[in-house]
Symmetry: C2
Subunit: 67 residues, 2 copies
């Protein structure tokens, strides 16, 4: 199965370091709209996140979202 | 490996039917910016596509892009 984990990427304004906060595991569907992104897991769990897709790293099973 | 195929989704304005046009196989990285989306395959091939991410279906290994 090729589900991914979705992470929120936050950049510390002082240090410039990036943190990854796990939003949802086992994400199957990702559906962006104007206000944010709907994440749907392989179990049917849904989560709506304000933000946009920053990048995908599919071989690493990672979806990065930024606010 | 969990690379995906990237498709351009086109909707026929007359019939309303959607067509999927294969843009790139074996996509690893997807990096949206203001003007479009950079696709990078597992082989290092790069392709820049004007458009935005319409949706992802990760279990089906599909990235849908719309212009």
């Amino acid at each position: 199965m090729c589900e991914a984990n979705a992470y929120l990427v936050e950049t510390d304004s002082k240090s410039g370091e990036s943190n990854e906060i796990l939003l949802m595991e086992a994400v199957d569907k990702v559906e962006p709209d104007e206000d944010g992104i709907l994440l749907i897991s392989i179990f049917g769990e849904q989560k709506f996140i304000k933000g946009h897709i920053h990048s995908l790293s599919l071989v690493d099973h990672k979806v990065y979202i930024k606010q």
